[in-house]
Symmetry: C2
Subunit: 199 residues, 2 copies
Amino acid sequence: MNAPRRGRGRPAVLTRERIVAAAVDVLDAEGLDALTMRRLGSRLGVAAMSLYRHLPNREAVLAAVVDRLFAEAVVDLGTGMSWPEALTGFAVAYRRMLLSHPQAVPLLATHPVDIDRGRELLAGLLGTFEAAGVTPHDAVTAVQSVGVYVLGHALAQVGGNPSLDDAALRFYDEWFEAGLGAMVRGFAVNALRGTPPPA
Amino acid sequence: MNAPRRGRGRPAVLTRERIVAAAVDVLDAEGLDALTMRRLGSRLGVAAMSLYRHLPNREAVLAAVVDRLFAEAVVDLGTGMSWPEALTGFAVAYRRMLLSHPQAVPLLATHPVDIDRGRELLAGLLGTFEAAGVTPHDAVTAVQSVGVYVLGHALAQVGGNPSLDDAALRFYDEWFEAGLGAMVRGFAVNALRGTPPPA
DNA sequence: CGTTGTAAGCTTACGTCGTACACAAAATAG
DNA sequence: CTATTTTGTGTACGACGTAAGCTTACAACG
């Protein structure tokens, strides 16, 4: 399963995977500002400069973290559902990931997932629309709109106070479902109408 | 109109207002990373440390910029409209501000507007809902949902490529209106139904 | 006028950041 | 054993935010 042994040189103690995993740990535990090259190195028992053998710079570390977290969000989205169900399921799974990595939310907001990678990860969801006869263009519009809503909502929830009491949590959950429901309903209405181009 | 002369000491060349205005200029021209205390000072013909006489730290500068930009977005929202019209108008005005300060979008995303200040600036819009018999709770839900969608959408548009061709701009505009329309329509459906609590 | 008090701006300095560059260490191939 | 190759390290530089103390430029008072 692991094969970092490629032949000649000094054996690698670091791997891209190990670095990214450690980066997620540091991010969750200490926040985005604490995710420095030195801190990440020390977490791995290694000097900061060693990381540059595996990733070109800090931006690349952040991009890799974004990719890993988004992939974590969209595994097992389930199949055999109508597109409104699948779309809602995606929103819920995405939100669950964001709330379980609250310190990552500002990062996800500022470093969008690579667009092709995003389409790849969401192929199943988009297929649900296609099976229902929705055009790819409209499907992408709906999925992106919902994604953008979920991220924006998590930003608002997490950006304010880091920790919230139960009442506040209920409030945000209610609000989330209200906005999500409104949007999905709105798209469904449009689809039933035969999707006239937006005026 | 201006009264920086308060009596005793050395006359002030700096004002909080002047600093914030310069900060917006630097942000628009060179981006968030370039908005450093030294750069801001040099823009004003002043040493970096001089800024600390007027604002406690860099975070306060950023917060002041956020406040100023959001206030810029919501002046003149118009009156005498139904709440769906007013809500759509708010979304359009907010989006216009974001797209005319693209470098500020990540800042707005990470530094939410102060909640009380936000309610104050949006009092007129919320009144439109009240006049139509919508509960304050539902009004806040709808306004925040739309705000979150607009910001998230601008993040997606601006975060990808900094400059876009006409086709891409049309694509984003279409997408924006589709998602916004869906959401407003969804809330309207709910309101007509008498606003049952979200399941 | 000179002196004094006070607010505003300046200089210097410290610790931290990302990272360029040259080097040391640890393995395999011959 | 030696040469080769890959990985990790040490040092150093410039830029950042900002703490502390100093200087400057005014108004008020004598």
